[in-house]
Symmetry: C2
Subunit: 111 residues, 2 copies
C-alpha cells in the first residue's frame, strides 16, 4: 500500500504499523503463522496465489521488521521454519481489532 508516513503527525503509529504490514500477502502470512510455525513450502500451499519470489521477499521483510523468526535446519533436503516472534504475536492481536470490525460491518453476515 505504501501508506504515507508523515513524521510528527499524530497518527504516525498507525502509519508505522501499516508500513510493516504493507504487502499483498503479509496479513495472510501473519494469520497462517498465528497457528503454529510453518515451512516455506507449507506457506506456499496455505496461501494460494503467492509466488515463491514474493513469498520469500515478504517473509524477509517481516523478519527484518522483527515480526517473524526464521529458523534454518541444516538438513537435506533443506528445511526452514518461520514462526511469529512475541512482537509478531502482539501485532496479530492488534490486527484482531481490525478483523472484528471488518467481520462485523463488512462481511455479508457473520457466520
Amino acid at each position: 500500500m505504501a501508506v504515507t508516513r508523515r513524521p510528527g503527525a499524530d497518527h504516525c503509529g498507525i502509519a508505522a504499523a501499516m508500513s510493516v504490514i504493507d504487502g499483498k500477502w503479509k496479513v495472510s502470512l501473519l494469520w497462517e503463522l498465528e497457528q503454529c510455525p510453518r515451512r516455506f513450502g507449507e506457506l506456499r500451499r496455505l496461501v494460494p496465489g503467492v509466488s515463491e519470489k514474493v513469498l520469500a521477499a515478504q517473509l524477509r521483510e517481516l523478519e527484518t521488521d522483527g515480526i517473524v523468526h526464521r529458523e534454518v535446519y541444516d538438513e537435506v533436503p533443506p528445511r526452514v521454519e518461520y514462526s511469529l516472534t512475541p512482537l509478531g504475536q502482539d501485532l496479530n492481536a492488534a490486527l484482531e481489532a481490525l478483523g472484528q470490525w471488518g467481520a462485523k460491518h463488512l462481511l455479508p453476515d457473520s457466520a
Copy 2:
C-alpha cells in the same frame, strides 16, 4: 495495498478491513476527519503531498464504503464537508489498536 481477500479464510475480516483502508492516503484522511468535519481544500492542505485527483478518488471510495459522509452546501463559492460516519468512527477506533502497537514497538521512542 490490494491485500488478498480469500473468501472463507478465517482472517477475511481483516482482509475486508484492509481493502477498505487500502489507498496511500486513507489513514491520513481518517485521522484528519477524526477531529472534526473537514472541507476538500482543508484536507488538501492538512495532508501534504496528496493530489486533488487522488484526494477526490479516495474520499469517494471511503464514501461508498460508508466510512465518510459527504455533505454538499449549495452556496457560492461551493462548499463540501466530509465527516466520519459512525462506521468510520468505529473503524478509527479499531485502527487505534494498530496505532498503539506501532507507537509502542516501532517508533524511535514514544514522546
